[in-house]
Amino acid sequence: MTFEAISNFIAAFFTLSIFSFLYKDNPFYKFAEAMFIGVSMGYAIPLVYNLTFIPFVYRPIFVEHNFWILIPALMGSLYIFRFSKNLGWLSRYPIVFGMAIVGMGVPMSMHAYVLVQVRTAMMPIDSINTFLIFLGTVTILLYFYFSKAHKGIYGKITNIGIWFMMVGFGASFGYTVMARISLLIGRIQFLMGDWLGLIK
């Protein structure tokens, strides 16, 4: 048995263990699930150490002698007090320091989600499609206006918005299913091709 065959066998074992959940919850699935959580978290540790701790904490302090970085490093270590009943309040400092970035979120969200969308929506209505896009956008926005009861003519207009949203959700749902199906095809191809060699 070659090293590649052993590797494929292990990958196939974990793949089938996860698939076994389709029958019912069982020890193989539980084992694979527990292993998946541990491996995923364990995978992040060396990567975070190499990609963020070394370049942004260790190197500035110990190589470049920028001792100011000791302050955020100590602030970051306050996270561990999150689990302490008496000192839990200390963990608020690294959290709020990161939270302050929402200040940039106000103008950025306004620009990216509102102004850009409004600008692209304001195009000449020169075809049935541009009219439908305009109608859909306006009726959806009216649907989300809850200060007026959705009754009478207003209710009928907002109902058009619901229809547009249903088509949008249907399209998103279709895409999600297709993405999952393509992953499933990939796993079947691995089992039938790489592992069992039934597909060349």
């Binding site: 990958a11 929402v102 200040g103 509102v114 896009i133």
Partner: protein, 207 residues
Amino acid sequence: MKRQIPLLIVILLGFTFVIHTFVPSKLSMDFYDWYQSWIKAISPFMVLLGIMSLFMVNSNKIQRKVPNWQYSVVTLLSLVATGAIGFIWGTQEGTPFMWMFKNVQMPMGATMFSLLAFYIASAAYKAFRARSMEATVLLVAAIIVMLGQVPIGMKISKYIPETATWILNVPNLAAKRGIALGVGLGMVATSLKILLGIERTYLGGGE
């Protein structure tokens, strides 16, 4: 004071960033660079919190010998083993760490998500069984979009891929745009609530 000082930091720094975005200058750019270097130095410790949480939850299960506690041992052992392998042999291509990724983590991750293909289909069947006109519209749009992505759609009718493209470019665009506008306004409102100290749940409970 244990809540007021953190709140004051958010308000002061937050409004500084609002000014930074509207009035870009050398001073505000330097301030932003300084903030970035500090945030990057804080970020690795967030992972420490996640590891501690995982250790505490699982070691607690093992100590109390709750049902299926043996799987917590598997989680902790695989966590320690993967981390140790990464530190001992490095994380480059060709190392045992990458072997673990390709033959353990990646197959399980892909299978876990592909499993959802079955559940999403059965859940959709239960939820959308064409009980109303709106549900029917959703179902029909989803089927056309799915068929439009695969060769069999073209084989059934040449109009299916065209209709799928039209759905994505016209009604779907209108829906996405309407929702994006709502999301944008919601994000601005939530950000303002945080900046003005109205929203404080991120501070957690206690004093």
